[in-house]
């Protein structure tokens, strides 16, 4: 007889199973007959069903599944965010693939596999699962980055990422091995016990092992000393992949680090706090400074991703001392995702065919053709800057309150300086939509700007705008929602 409790436990894996089934179905579909639209629809609907299945999961009491994973509210929340960003990536990639790619359907396959990995990292409760999740996310990315393989830059980026990512994975593995050598168990619960009993800080093997594990996470998050791959890879990747990198892959790495630091209290130590603070400060400030002189928009987005990771790391730094840091992270992520979706919807509208995408990417006819697009872009950028009435302001308010409350004055100064520097390029990005005479005449003839947006893309950017404004003007909605979810 099937054990009922076991069944409920397995229910938690439903989103994972659904995405897995979608992978198989898509494989079969591709091998039978290639149809781009069908593949896209299949992927999106699989991801949607998986998203809906999250409602079935009992989150009241956290429970572990097969030692490897733990299902709780946080996990479900982050899975939802990841599925959402996968869906949006699929939607935006459709038109790009239609115009640029030879092989179209494999893109969705890779995204689905990465999503599998992302869900695993959100559930992770064991270092083995962590490794599986992280690898499942980064392996498909090799393909996604090099998807535009006719182009040398794309191939170069792919090879760069492959080598560096493999190195970081070996770091992770090495760290895990060291931890195992000392503790003899890889479960987070045991590791937690080791740190609570205070032996963790005095054992060189544990410290070195944990450092290696964290270093590989920091690499995936592209934080400052380990950021060198980011701008190059972003520049070489196709636009949908850049979106995927800056939303999904960042989320996955971040969730892994978050769970690590939630369950293993290494951040209650002053020294580790200091190191994390230093990393986030240099990421924010130097990332912003280096972004100042970029003329390629994808490269710019790479540097912005470093800066955003820096902001996210500040929340992790205070996770053991501040009671609201989880809320801050959630609000920050939501506002970041919405604004990023929005900006990429603009990019995919106007840059789909641009090879060397220029900074000011917009068309000269934007003002005439679509007033709405200009307004949308303005709102997205204002939200990232953190102007009141947008969701970005709420997240800035939360972030600053948290850091001030913890008395991390260095972080406060870094946040302020970073956001002042970042004004320069965000404003340039925003003004890009207003500026005229960007493209020469022959570009118009090839029709690269008058790429028609699909209705779905417009709907996504419209929804983002609505949510940014709605939640920005009435933040109590999102605060109440998060109180309920988290």
């Amino acid at each position: 007889m099937i054990d009922i409790t076991n069944f409920i436990q397995l229910l938690g894996l439903l989103p994972l199973a659904i995405v897995g089934i979608t992978v198989v179905l898509l494989l079969v579909a591709i091998s039978l007959k290639r149809n781009h639209l069908f593949s896209c629809l299949l992927t999106v609907s699989g991801l949607l069903i998986s998203l809906l299945s999250l409602f079935l999961i009992n989150t009241k009491n956290p429970h572990t599944v097969a030692f490897l994973m733990q299902i709780d509210r946080h996990a479900v929340f982050y899975v939802a965010l990841m599925l959402l960003s996968s869906i949006v990536t699929c939607i935006f990639s459709y038109s790009w693939l239609e115009q640029n790619a030879v092989q179209k359907d494999e893109f969705y396959l890779l995204i689905l596999i990465a999503t599998l990995g992302g869900i695993v990292t959100a559930y992770v409760n064991h270092l083995t699962a962590l490794f599986i999740g992280v690898e499942l996310v980064s392996l498909p990315l090799f393909g996604l980055i090099g998807f535009n393989f006719q182009k040398n830059s794309s191939l170069e980026a792919s090879i760069k990422y492959t080598i560096l990512s493999a190195t970081s994975s070996s770091f992770l593995l090495f760290g895990i091995a060291l931890l195992y050598a000392k503790i003899g168990d890889l479960s987070f619960t045991v590791l937690n016990a080791a740190f609570i009993n205070d032996i963790g800080y005095h054992q060189p093997l544990i410290i070195v092992g944990l450092t290696f594990v964290i270093l590989s996470m920091l690499f995936k998050l592209s934080l400052m000393p380990l950021h060198f791959w980011t701008p190059d890879v972003y520049q070489g990747s196709p636009i949908p992949t850049v979106l995927f990198l800056s939303t999904f892959s960042k989320l996955a790495a971040f969730t892994a680090l978050l769970r690590l630091s939630l369950y293993i209290p290494f951040l209650s130590n002053q020294t580790t706090q200091g190191i994390f603070t230093a990393i986030s400060v240099i990421s924010i400030i130097f990332g912003s400074l280096m972004a100042l002189h970029q003329s390629d928009i994808k490269r710019l987005l790479g540097y912005l991703s470093i800066v955003q990771s820096g902001y996210l790391l500040t929340c992790i730094t205070t996770i053991q001392i501040s009671s609201i840091s989880l809320e801050v992270i959630a609000i920050y992520l939501i506002s970041y995702l919405l604004a990023t979706f929005g900006i990429f919807s603009m990019l995919s509208t106007y840059c789909t065919k641009l090879d060397n995408s220029d900074y000011t990417f917009a068309s000269s006819h934007m003002q005439k053709t679509s007033k709405m697009l200009t307004v949308k872009m303005t709102i997205f950028v204002l939200s990232i800057i953190g102007i009141p009435t947008t969701l970005g302001f709420v997240s800035k308010l939360y972030l600053l309150s948290m850091t001030i409350n913890c008395r991390f004055w260095i972080l406060v100064i870094a946040i302020v300086t970073g956001s002042l520097i970042s004004l320069f390029y965000y404003l340039r990005l925003m003004n890009g939509v207003y500026v005229k005479k960007i493209f020469s005449e022959e570009n118009f003839d090839t029709g690269m700007i008058y790429h028609r947006t699909s209705k779905v893309e417009t709907a996504v950017s419209f929804l983002s705008v609505t949510f940014i404004l709605l939640l920005g003007i009435f933040p109590q909605i999102i605060i109440r929602l998060l109180k309920f979810i988290l």
């Binding site: 204002l382 800057i385 102007i387 009141p388 009435t389 302001f393 800035k396 308010l397 600053l400 309150s401 001030i404 409350n405 406060v412 302020v416 956001s419 002042l420 004004l423 320069f424 404003l427 003004n431 207003y434 933040p475 109590q476 605060i479 109440r480």
Partner: protein, 491 residues
């Protein structure tokens, strides 16, 4: 109820005018500013009741939409009404009207919000939101300068935004810190001005919080090392005269210092007042010195308003009733006279196609009414008796003499420097070498249109009325100023 209308009308009509056609948008704007002005005038009649509006906004953090109006706010709001009306009328023929008017109304709404907000987060909200339309106005409608590319204009818009953002971020940090300090003492999370003003804290905390607030406000004020954005903004804003809103934007800072900074951190005043007064003196003399070197009439206006800011700062730190009353008069009068000069500058530019003071010369007798009013407004800025400016400066110096006589002595000397620049500007524009431009310009008699004339003469009227009958403002603002003073002195 009337308070929320004062804010809602500009905002909603901003959206309306943005969405409507060019022809309707200006009428929407006109109706909006007139209604705002009317509502604020109605409030003059029912002054004795303290008007309030409270409605919860973010209940989790106890943040409310809390507006209240006393005599001081009322004076400022009416000033916004008057200058806003002028801004709408004098940009009657701007290109892309609908968006332009939307921006202007948005600025007006935000400034009114700043003067009414009693909740600190709401105050910050308006403080921050004001910069976007200003940025857009400079960016799209700005004056590029002769033979210069737009890139300079765009850079100056960015610099403007940078300064205001720096000010906004400092203000946000200071507000959050103050609220958290209050929360740690009383375990009551609130952004309410009255609650926060009772916060008790150590002297060190108080001092650092005060410095953060002061830094935030001094950017907007502007104090001298941080004044560059005002000069740029004055220079690059459109010539039509909508720039008079800049004059209002910088008047929000002294209001904020008077209303918030002094009341929140009363213990620091005795120590900090001499520092602030020194800064004020630097402002006055630096502004006056810079005015001598300016050829561009808009830059001249900008530096003279920096000069006024110095006077205002000195008077804020005197903690003296007479001086504070002079301060209110000075704020109103200098806004009006700056507006007048901006209008004159826009008229001169329109007629003569130049803003260079050396090229505009000998206009006396050439354009009907314009030279006379030019002289009037220059004399008003230097504070000739009979104008509001004279009264303001006089009361400030008088009040300052009672508490800080030395600063009063030094500040008095500025009257001489101000006179020099005003007189030399009058000389250059109205008299001087005969003007080739006027003669060559198509031979027809240049005249002010009815609308332009009415605007300029109504300003003349207001300034003189303020100088002769200041009693109405003095009486209105006496109560709130007295409240501020008692809260400072009852430590």
């Amino acid at each position: 109820m009337s308070l929320i209308l004062l804010i809602l009308i500009p905002y909603t009509s901003a959206i309306l005018s943005w969405k409507s056609k060019d022809i309707y948008s200006r009428w929407i704007a006109v109706t909006a500013v007139f209604t705002t002005l009317l509502i604020s005038l109605i409030n003059w009649l029912t002054l004795n009741e303290k008007v309030k509006f409270i409605c919860p906004w973010i209940p989790q953090f106890n943040i409310n939409i809390y507006l209240s109006m006393d005599g001081l706010s009322l004076t400022m709001v009416s000033l916004v009404g008057i200058i806003g009306t002028i801004a709408v009328f004098c940009s009657w023929n701007e290109s892309r009207k609908n968006l332009f008017y939307a921006n202007i109304l948005w600025i007006i709404g935000s400034i009114i919000g700043i003067f009414l907000a009693t909740d600190m987060l709401l105050f910050f909200f308006f403080w921050e939101i004001m910069s976007i339309p200003m940025y857009l106005i400079i960016y799209f409608w700005g004056y590029e300068g002769k033979g210069k590319s737009t890139s300079k204009l765009h850079r100056s818009a960015t610099v403007f935004f940078l300064y205001t953002q720096a000010s906004g971020l400092l203000l946000l940090i200071a507000t959050i810190s103050l609220v958290l300090v209050h929360y740690n003492v009383t375990h009551n999370l609130t952004f309410d001005y009255i609650e926060l003003s009772k916060t008790s804290m150590s002297y060190r905390t108080e001092f650092f919080l005060m410095l953060t607030f002061f830094a935030a406000f001094s950017i907007k004020m502007p104090l001298v090392p941080l004044h560059k954005w005002v000069v740029n903004t004055h220079f690059y804003t459109p010539n039509s005269g909508a720039a008079d809103l800049v004059g209002l934007v910088i008047k929000t800072a002294p209001y904020a210092i008077l209303r918030f900074l002094l009341v929140f951190f009363p213990h620091t005043i005795t120590f900090f007042s001499s520092v602030a007064m020194c800064l004020g003196l630097v402002n006055i003399f630096y502004g006056a010195y810079m005015v001598f070197n300016q050829n561009d009439i808009k830059k001249l206006i900008a530096y003279s308003s920096i000069c006024h800011a110095g006077f205002i700062l000195i008077s804020i730190y005197t903690s003296n009733l007479i001086s504070y009353q002079g301060l209110v008069i000075q704020i109103v009068a200098s806004s009006l006279s700056t507006t007048g000069l901006i209008l004159i500058a826009s008229q001169l530019y329109k007629k003569l196609d130049s803003r260079n003071i050396n090229e505009i010369s000998n206009i006396w007798g050439q354009i009907r009414w314009l030279p006379a009013t030019t002289i009037f407004f220059f004399l008003a800025t230097l504070g000739v008796p009979g104008t509001g400016n004279f009264l303001g400066e006089f009361l400030i110096l008088l009040g300052c003499y009672q508490t800080h006589p030395i600063f009063s002595y030094i500040a008095t000397f500025s009257l001489i420097t101000v006179t020099i620049y005003a007189v030399s500007a009058i000389n250059k524009t109205c008299f001087g070498i005969s003007n080739k431009r006027l003669i060559s310009s198509s031979g027809k008699y240049l005249e002010l249109s009815l609308c332009e004339g009415t605007l300029i003469f109504s300003l003349v009227f207001f300034i003189i009325a303020l100088g002769i009958f200041p009693q109405i403002i003095l009486e209105t603002t006496e109560g709130p100023i007295f409240n501020i003073l008692t809260s400072i002195e009852h430590l």
